[in-house]
Every structure is written in structure tokens, then in C-alpha cells.
């Protein structure tokens, strides 16, 4: 997977997790949904670990850094170089 493909997968899982998370806040008894949520979190952890190891830090406070300090590296999320076209056809 390229960096962009990996980042897209992480974005997809992160978003799925967010939407399930908001659902669970008002449906705390839905055990199956909690299972889906937990599976997604564990899968996402692996992908994020891979991303951090290959390309750089994704979250403040939870990622290790190489030398020199990677957190300040470009691109930042608002810059074009950090983004890509998301089209339904690519999915």
C-alpha cells in the first residue's frame, strides 16, 4: 500500500469509528455494535502503527518519533500535499 492508500484506509476506519461512537452514546446496550466498534478500533490500531513506523507521527502524545523530531514535518492536514481525491469510484 502506498502512503496515500494507507492514509485513506485509516481515514475510512476513523470515520466509521466516529459514527458508530456517536450511535453508541445513545444506544449503550447494543452489544453487537460495540463488537463492530472494537473490531474497527483494533484494525485501525494496526494500520496506524504501520503508518507511524513508515511515514511519521499521526497523533500527538501516542506516537514515537525518529530523529529529528517528526511531528513538525510537512505536510500538515490542511495542505494539498496531505490530501487526495476521494471518489466513490475509488472505493
Amino acid at each position: 500500500m502506498t502512503e496515500q492508500e494507507l492514509l485513506q484506509k485509516i481515514m475510512e476506519l476513523d470515520f466509521y469509528i466516529i459514527d458508530l461512537h456517536l450511535y453508541l452514546n445513545t444506544h449503550p446496550e447494543d452489544a453487537d455494535a460495540i463488537g463492530m466498534y472494537n473490531d474497527a478500533v483494533l484494525q485501525n490500531r494496526d494500520l496506524r502503527a504501520e503508518y507511524t513506523q513508515k511515514y511519521g507521527m499521526l497523533t500527538s502524545n501516542h506516537c514515537v518519533s525518529a530523529v529529528p523530531w517528526q511531528w513538525i514535518d510537512s505536510p500538515w492536514p490542511w495542505q494539498k500535499a496531505a490530501n487526495f481525491e476521494l471518489r466513490e469510484e475509488n472505493v
Partner: protein, 198 residues
């Protein structure tokens, strides 16, 4: 407290600069129905909210709104970065430019700086949740108007995403309203002086 995740919630890559469009979209950054107002509203209301479900919902939707604020700021910046003086003038962007250059500033499409007067954190949980449902509808409508103002798919994609999130947020606040109403029905027989307990 908040951590920062170094990625957008939804990718934004805009190929065509458009200062006139930026001037409109900035309203969802600092305008009356925009993401900054939503974030501050929900994150303020959470302190006095009742029931675990509603507290969590305010906390987490408020947090997501900060991510949306970032997205809108990104759209505005990508639409204006690198503009020449002539593009600034021809795009009708000169008034914004002389006040803010090519920076992102929280204001409405009409140029009104962000104000907390556009939001309320009143403490009565039914009132606050109803305010929030209205806020989500206002944001949805504003995104629909903005989507009508452009044909650029690079901009429409993220705007449609943000619009859909408003619909989902409305549903969650609506569910919280039911939860809080049921809770209060059990807890009191008549209107209280203050809703005190958790």
C-alpha cells in the same frame, strides 16, 4: 482534554482557486450557523447537561465540530492560497484581503466577526438540546445553499459530507432529547426551581 490527530476527517484537495467562493464558505468557519459556533455551543452546554448519554453526545459532537472547523478552514485556505493581486481584485476579495490577507479569519459571509451572541448555553437540558437541533438544521441549510453556489466537485464533496454530518447530529440530539425527557419525567412531578441532580 483534546488530542490532535494529524489528518482531516475527510480529504480536501482543491485544484481551482476561487476567492469569491472562499468569501461565502468562510461563513461556516465563523458565521452564525458555522462550525466554530457549534463546537463552542456543545462544549459549553456539556457542563450542565443531564444523563450520561447526553453528556457524552455533547462532548463528542462538540469535538467532531472542531474537526469540521478545520475542514472549512482548509477549504477556505486552499481556495485562496497563492492568489495574485489581480485575482484578488477580480474575485471581489479585496475587502477581505486588506483586513486579513490570505489568512483564514472567523467571520460570516457578510463580514461579521464570529460572535457568541449567535449561540446559547442556557442550562435547561431540554432547551439546550432543542437549540442544538435547530443549530444542526441551520448548518444543514447553509451547506445546501453553499453547495448551490458552486459546480466544483472538489468543493462539493467535502460540503456534502459536512451537510450529511448535520443530519446525523440532529438525529443524535433528538435521541438525547427523548432520553432527557424520560429522565426528567421520572424525576419530577412539577416544574422544578432548578434541575439539580445527575
Amino acid at each position: 482534554m483534546w488530542m490532535y490527530d494529524k489528518k482531516l476527517e475527510y480529504p480536501i484537495l482543491i485544484k481551482n482557486p476561487n476567492p469569491a467562493l472562499a468569501k461565502l464558505i468562510v461563513t461556516q468557519y465563523g458565521g452564525p450557523d458555522g462550525e466554530l459556533g457549534a463546537a463552542v455551543r456543545y462544549l459549553s452546554q456539556r457542563f450542565s447537561m443531564l444523563t450520561p448519554q447526553a453528556r457524552a453526545t455533547l462532548n463528542d459532537i462538540g469535538t467532531e465540530e472542531l474537526g469540521h472547523l478545520e475542514m472549512v478552514g482548509t477549504i477556505v485556505r486552499q481556495l485562496i492560497e497563492g492568489l495574485s493581486d489581480r485575482e484578488i481584485e477580480e474575485g471581489g476579495f479585496a475587502p477581505y484581503y486588506v483586513d486579513h490577507g490570505l489568512a483564514v479569519y472567523p467571520m460570516s459571509a457578510g463580514g461579521v466577526p464570529f460572535s457568541a451572541a449567535t449561540l446559547q448555553s442556557l442550562g435547561d437540558p431540554i432547551t439546550d438540546l432543542t437549540e442544538n437541533m435547530a443549530a444542526e438544521q441551520k448548518a444543514r441549510s447553509t451547506y445546501e445553499y453553499l453547495i448551490r453556489m458552486t459546480d466544483d466537485p472538489d468543493v462539493i464533496g467535502p460540503l456534502k459530507f459536512l451537510r450529511e454530518r448535520e443530519i446525523v447530529h440532529f438525529q443524535r440530539f433528538g435521541e438525547c432529547l427523548g432520553i432527557v425527557q424520560d429522565y426528567l419525567d421520572q424525576k419530577r412531578v412539577f416544574a422544578p426551581q432548578t434541575a439539580r441532580e445527575n
